[in-house]
């Protein structure tokens, strides 16, 4: 049964990595196999699902989905484009900045889906290729999302699995390294793309003629939606002292949003990406199967043997190993499998450095390949549909050096401040 549980999980990872079919179908098939083959009883499978993660995801999807109608995110993206005055280097930094911040406080996938379409239009207006700008945004979204508990799915999973780590802990421990990494990486990308981002002087003035607030005028519930979004973010900052779980904050925010800023509940709930939710459900059940069969404990033991029990080596292996694993498969299933491994390594103790190493490795590793993070897949889909596809290799040529630089920065940070 142990071999079967491992086989199901590895087969699922391979299918997800090669995108032979939708990842949600793969995860649900894997979960069904785990239960039908008796690796887990039905009750155990349901208990293996991390409902807090799902609650946090659903809550944020409703809040962000309803706020998106107001045009406020379009406003932000256009304002930074105007601040750039059509100068390419400034544009790269400002787009990276706004994407990074939006990723940190919404989530990186949402940020990409909001920013990339506007970027395609801006690039069209400025007569430059959108691909360098979109690549910068994808990378910024994965780095920016590293900064908070809600910014990137690996962090959401870690934050909900380890209640000892608060929203503020994530910011204090991860935001500084994320900001430094974003600045370094964006500088490198701006230099690398400078020849592809030449904007003719007469096109530069086009951004001044945009009216960023146009879509907000007449949009429904602008003030209410923004107040609820801001209130929810404040709630995340206060969840630990108030002894409220992040999922409760998100679901309360979503409920208030439905009460004050949604006329049609069914339409509002269409903002929930159910495919993503069911993907997580399938993953949790498959990982639950691995835990039940003792596979996770054996992996953790092997890991401890490898590192000789050294705390520093353990954290660095988690960092680089998570990045490599995330690059090859997808950082969501990889993190789902790694959380119980790190948990098992720690036994009864608690060492937050290992968790920061996992968060940094999985989130930064998400930049390595086009399939490594949900935001990358989403951006590449938008580019495909717009007739400007980015190949796996082209993404890799940018993503791999970016990931290497990010991991070096993360290593220095962990060694200097956490170990």
């Amino acid at each position: 049964m142990d071999v079967v549980a491992v086989g199901i999980f590895l087969a699922a990872l391979i299918l997800i990595a090669f995108e032979w079919t939708h990842r949600t179908k793969v995860a649900l098939c894997g979960a069904a196999a785990v239960v039908l083959l008796g690796i887990l009883e039905q009750e155990q499978a349901i208990a293996a699902i991390d409902w807090s993660t799902l609650g946090l995801l659903v809550g944020m999807m409703v809040i962000v989905g309803l706020t998106e109608r107001t045009g406020v995110f379009t406003y932000l993206a256009l304002r930074v484009a105007q601040l750039s005055r059509g100068r390419p280097m400034r544009l790269v930094f400002l787009l990276a900045g706004v994407t990074g911040v939006m990723s940190a406080f919404l989530d990186n996938l949402t940020a990409i889906l909001l920013v990339v379409p506007i970027t395609l239009l801006l690039a069209d207006l400025l007569k430059v290729s959108p691909i360098p700008l979109v690549l910068v945004e994808v990378i910024a979204s994965n780095i920016g999302g590293t900064a908070t508990l809600i910014g990137d799915p690996p962090n959401i999973m870690i934050g909900t699995a380890k209640p000892e780590l608060s929203f503020l802990d994530f910011i204090v421990n991860l935001a500084p390294v994320a900001i430094v990494t974003l600045l370094v990486v964006t500088t490198g990308l701006a230099l690398a793309f400078r020849k592809q981002l030449v904007i003719e002087p007469e096109r530069r003035r086009e951004v001044d003629r945009l009216d960023p607030a146009a879509d907000m005028r007449g949009a429904p519930y602008v003030t209410r939606s923004l107040l609820v979004l801001l209130g929810t973010i404040v709630g995340f900052f206060l969840h630990a002292p108030l002894h409220i779980e992040p999922a409760v904050v998100a679901l309360t925010g979503a409920t208030v949003m439905l009460l004050v800023a949604a006329d049609d509940v069914e339409n509002a709930l269409e903002r929930v990406e159910w495919a993503t939710i069911f993907f997580f459900i399938g993953l949790f059940v498959m990982v639950g199967g691995l835990e039940e069969r003792g596979v996770i404990d054996r992996v953790a033991e092997g890991f401890a043997d490898l590192t000789g029990g050294s705390r520093s080596l353990e954290a660095l292996v988690i960092l680089w190993g998570s990045a490599a694993g995330s690059a090859v498969v997808d950082n969501i299933p990889f993190t789902a499998a790694m959380i119980p491994v790190v948990d098992s390594l720690q036994g009864d103790g608690f060492d937050d450095a290992a968790w920061w190493a996992l968060a940094l490795g999985a989130c930064f590793g998400g930049n390595a390949t086009i399939i490594a993070a949900a935001a990358n897949v989403a951006a590449s889909g938008v580019l495909d549909r717009s007739g400007q596809p980015v190949s796996f290799v082209r993404f890799l040529m940018v993503g791999l050096p970016v990931t290497a630089v990010s991991l070096v920065i993360a290593t220095v940070y962990l060694v200097l401040f956490q170990l």
Binding site: E68, R69, G71, P117, D124, P212, A213, R385
Partner: protein
Amino acid sequence: MSSLHDIELIPASVDVSATFDEAARALAESRLPALAVLDEGRVVGLFTDEELLLGVSPKYLDELRHTAFLESELPSLREHAAAVRSEPVRKHMRKPITVELDSSSLHASERFVHCDEGAIAVVDGDGRFVGMLSKAEFAYAMLRRLTGS
């Protein structure tokens, strides 16, 4: 009313070898929201007003949710429209929605309600194209017949 025989059908169609430009002209002249794309008399696709609109718009239009901020025309639109004119219509058609000439009016109504098209293709028992049925024309014909007016 038990079939579509006595409703006016419009023989609006283009051959699958037609260009986007030819299909666009035929669609505009038919004054229908969709026309049939035929291959040897059989319906292989529909070319609708949406395909026409998306064809002359940037490909990323569907991804955008807000565009009121744009006050000037995109410089690429003219080049894009020039390029799309000579493209084959088969690149721009959608899956055909058909209904048989002998179908009941209720079946045709159900097809219209669930396919969300403004016009669908009517075919004979052998699957050969007979004509396009417009939703408005069909609904108005039903109203007249059911009320005896």
